[in-house]
């Protein structure tokens, strides 16, 4: 999604490996967790982030399912990158992704009907999650197999982390439990709105506020350190 100009000016744009073949380093994995976190930094794939994070179990299930599709489609796209004609690449990626989503869909149905019912249509909607298509287009289609594998795992972990950070907060506040285990005594009055739709918006907004604040504080420190704007408000 598009960001407002003042935001994109201060956040360095995600560096999408300009060198044709990236060498495998720890950064290949860690980048997805923090610097290029798909949810908090790139603001991609927001729909499942908001929709299925009302409990931490749902969040974890969704995160793992998305990671599976991300890794599977990344590996296949990377293997086929020299065979897919440029003109039909997006259509091919979507078909590959849809195949893996169908696998996950039937897989979750076989493993846990309860989770399947809770996630609902959002398992099938992984197919239109822009994180996955974005990674296929920007990374997997250009990189070798092993770097793609590690990078997709990192991205998936970052996505799962973001889902969990919403899911746990919402479940604790809205239900007083964590992974279904009650945290507070009998007297706890749940903040029900947090597990309802508005809570998703509020909690994600709060996380972004926190990150904005941290970023601004860091920038201010850097500016003071270099003495450029020592007395700026």
């Amino acid at each position: 999604m598009a960001e407002s100009p003042n935001r994109s000016a201060s956040v360095p744009p995600p560096t999408l490996a300009l060198n044709p073949q990236e060498t495998l380093t720890a950064d290949t994995f860690i980048r997805g967790l923090w610097k290029e976190n798909p949810v908090f930094v790139m603001l991609l794939g927001m729909c499942p982030v908001l929709a299925v994070t009302n409990t931490s179990i749902n969040a974890l299930g969704m995160g793992l399912a998305t990671t599976f599709v991300l890794v599977g489609s990344g590996v296949l796209v990377s293997l086929l990158r020299n065979w897919i004609p440029k003109q039909v690449r997006i259509a091919s990626y979507i078909i590959i992704i849809a195949t893996f989503v169908t696998v996950v869909d039937y897989g979750i149905q076989a493993i846990s009907l309860e989770l399947y019912a809770a996630l609902g249509a959002f398992i099938q909607l992984i197919v239109v999650n822009c994180v996955i298509l974005g990674r296929a287009e920007a990374y997997a289609s250009k990189q070798r197999l092993h770097t793609t594998l590690i990078n997709s795992l990192g991205m998936g972990a970052g996505f799962t982390l973001a889902l969990l950070s919403l899911g746990t907060v919402r479940e604790i506040l809205g239900n007083g439990t964590l992974f279904g285990v009650p945290l507070f005594g009998e007297g706890f009055q749940p903040w029900v709105i947090m597990v309802l739709p508005p809570g998703g918006f509020f909690v994600l907004g709060a996380w972004l506020l926190l990150f904005n604040w941290l970023r601004l504080r860091k920038e201010r420190k850097v500016m003071q350190g270099s003495g450029v704007a020592a007395n700026a408000g």
């Binding site: 407002s4 729909c47 979507i94 249509a121 099938q124 822009c130 739709p197 508005p198 918006f201 904005n212």
Partner: protein
């Protein structure tokens, strides 16, 4: 077959289970294209049109795949047909209204990867709506999407003139606004029955 009345289906899709504010479908365009009312209006129209097209095609595909007993191919077929439908709209818009094409920019092709469109196709299949019901459902969902988008755009235009703390600029502020809108839309709960 569902025997819900058409009026209830429309009301349900448009406000009670609003695609954006209650079901969280189509958040990306909702946050991305809601900075100006005019663009939001155009985007809303495009979404309504694509929803109608994909609703019709999804109905056809589902019928065909049920006949052939190939339901596991449903997701792949849906996404392929919807993507082609969007391409068609894009070409038509480019041909007949270059100004509109420019103002929508990259968001027309992105409607393809909009979960609201695919979600609509999946929900109408899950609810077993017949042809007319599907159309009304698509119209309601598209209308609801447009309503949410326009409300958001109006609020954000006002906010342009307000002085907000620097930490809350950008996406964080939009999300808080969306939360408040969603809170308001919860007031419609129970109005049209409680079908998800």
């Amino acid at each position: 077959m569902q025997d819900e009345s058409l009026y209830l289906i429309f009301l349900n899709a448009a406000v009670v289970n609003n695609f954006v504010l209650a079901l969280f479908l189509g958040i990306c365009p909702f946050l991305g294209v809601s900075a100006k009312k005019e663009t939001a209006w155009n985007m809303g129209l495009a979404v309504i049109f694509v929803m109608l097209v994909s609703s019709v095609s999804a109905y056809g595909i589902n019928w065909l795949l049920t006949e052939l007993d190939l339901l596991f191919l449903r997701l792949i077929c849906y996404i392929a047909v919807i993507a082609s439908a969007v391409q068609l709209v894009e070409m038509l818009v480019k041909r007949y209204s270059p100004a509109l094409f420019r103002s929508l920019g990259i968001f027309l092709p992105l409607i393809t990867t909009n979960c609201a469109i695919l979600g609509l196709a999946l929900f109408q299949t899950a609810k077993e709506y017949d042809f007319v019901q599907s159309l009304v459902y698509a119209l309601g969902a598209g209308g609801g999407f447009m309503l949410a988008l326009m409300l958001m755009a109006g609020l954000r235009e006002k906010l342009e003139l307000a002085r907000v703390p620097s930490v809350s600029q950008g996406a964080a502020m939009s999300l808080m606004l969306a939360g408040l809108l969603s809170l308001a839309f919860m007031g419609f709960a129970g109005l049209g029955g409680s079908h998800g």
